[in-house]
């Protein structure tokens, strides 16, 4: 047979505008999962300052919490975690074979719910930095 032409990556993420709900759910789930893993390491790093004494730990937390960027990142972290939880529940239902026809709706529902929870949490997170 003659040689054939492989279109490579163009046909993958270059097509994001054509992805359907289930595909987006998959991408977001992967993405949020990796973000959570990454956060875990910073979390451990911050917590382990307690090994060198209470004062250092308190000071570190105080310093971090006084930064606006940290507060914003915390909102982002909440968004990521909430979506990962809700979509995880959705995937659990999918694995149990419940409501497979409504899988796109449950994805949109978890997005909307994530948005609502995140918006509602903003006052709590940014309180006191300004």
């Amino acid at each position: 047979m003659s040689q054939s032409y492989n279109r490579g990556l163009v046909e993958d993420f270059g097509r994001w505008r054509e992805f359907s709900a289930g595909m987006w759910a998959w991408i977001f789930h992967k993405f949020t999962g990796w973000v959570l893993v990454g956060y875990l390491f910073t979390h451990i790093a911050v917590l382990s300052t307690a090994l060198s004494g209470e004062i250092l730990y308190t000071e570190t937390i105080r310093a971090l919490e006084s930064l606006l960027i940290v507060r914003i990142l915390e909102v982002g972290l909440l968004a990521v975690a909430v979506f990962h939880i809700l979509n995880g529940l959705r995937l659990l239902l999918v694995d149990l074979g419940i409501g497979l026809e409504a899988q796109d709706k449950s994805f949109y529902a978890s997005l909307v719910l994530t948005g609502a929870i995140v918006v509602a949490s903003v006052p709590t997170f940014v309180a006191g930095v300004f």
Partner: protein, 293 residues
């Protein structure tokens, strides 16, 4: 010409429905279509007047054997539109009238041979089952993604067929009924269960839409798993064969690779609930291996 709205008759209907058919004949969809057709015929002179109604197709072109065509490109075709024209009809028109080198597979033109799955406007669809009027212009026709292009819209299906063969897509059993001429009967319930999975036409639309299959060359892919489902769930094959099939299904590159993106279910032209079948096999596999003692 179009097969899009046609429901396979006699396949799903029960006897009661066919009895009712005479009664509702006057208002049946067929009667309605016939009436509409008559209406159209009267209008047709006007239609010829505005014959300039064309559809704009952008078709992927690539030919490794011609020096100038080795760089993939898109060709534009403006095909005069007829009522009920499908993408395949438009491609055939373009090939016959404009460029005889335009290459694509097709055969039955009624969504049963599975040879004309293309990537049309960003989605895997059968050319013969897709109405031009349902698409936005320009209609972009490309070969199936994630498969190597041989020429124009023709992709290399060899790997897909290998995966299909890998699940042994044929009936086999060692539990033959008594008596030489005895038939192997299937219960109605069991048939209902596997009915949808028998409809696969090996078009590879699902396989092409699956990101996991694209990344993992050994993954069986939705169509092959659906085939495996069709036989694993068939009670006539018996327990031994079921175990044999489960071993193929639950291997490393079998059902567990599926990450429920639902892309395959979205594109299957035969509306097979592929993800549902894969998920059911996953649960079967767990039940098969989980022992509490």
């Amino acid at each position: 010409m179009s097969t899009q709205e046609q429901k396979p008759k006699n396949q799903t209907e029960t006897d009661t429905e066919s009895a009712d058919e005479d009664i509702i004949a006057a208002s049946s969809p067929q009667q309605r279509r016939l009436r509409e057709k008559r209406g159209r015929e009267i209008e047709s002179p006007k239609e010829t007047a505005e014959q300039e109604d064309t559809y704009h197709l952008k078709v992927f072109r690539y030919d490794p054997e011609v020096a100038d065509k080795q760089e993939p490109r898109f060709d534009d075709f403006h095909v005069p539109y007829r009522q009920g024209m499908t993408v395949l009809d438009a491609l055939i028109y373009a090939r016959d009238r404009f460029d005889s080198s335009l290459t694509f597979r097709h055969s039955c033109r009624q969504a049963i041979c599975g040879s004309d799955a293309f990537f049309i406007n960003g989605r895997q669809r059968l050319g013969c089952r897709t109405q031009l009027s349902d698409l936005e212009e320009p209609v972009r026709v490309e070969p199936l993604p994630h498969q190597e292009v041989v020429k124009d819209l023709v992709v290399d299906m060899e790997h897909f067929y290998d995966q299909m063969e890998a699940v042994e897509p044929y009936f086999q059993t060692n539990e033959l009924p008594e008596g030489e001429l005895e038939e192997q009967r299937q219960s109605r319930e069991n048939h209902e269960k596997i009915k949808m999975s028998t409809r696969c036409i090996w078009c590879a639309a699902c396989y092409s839409s699956c990101n996991i299959a694209a990344g993992d060359n050994e993954y069986l892919g939705p169509a092959a798993i659906n085939k495996a489902y069709r036989f694993a769930m068939d009670e006539r094959e018996g327990e031994d064969l079921k175990q044999h099939r489960m071993r193929i299904i639950e291997q490393e590159h079998g059902v567990w690779r599926c990450q429920t993106q639902f892309s395959c279910t979205m594109v299957c032209p035969k509306d097979i609930p592929l993800t549902e079948h894969i998920q059911e096999l996953k649960r079967e596999a767990v039940k098969n291996n989980l022992k509490f003692w």
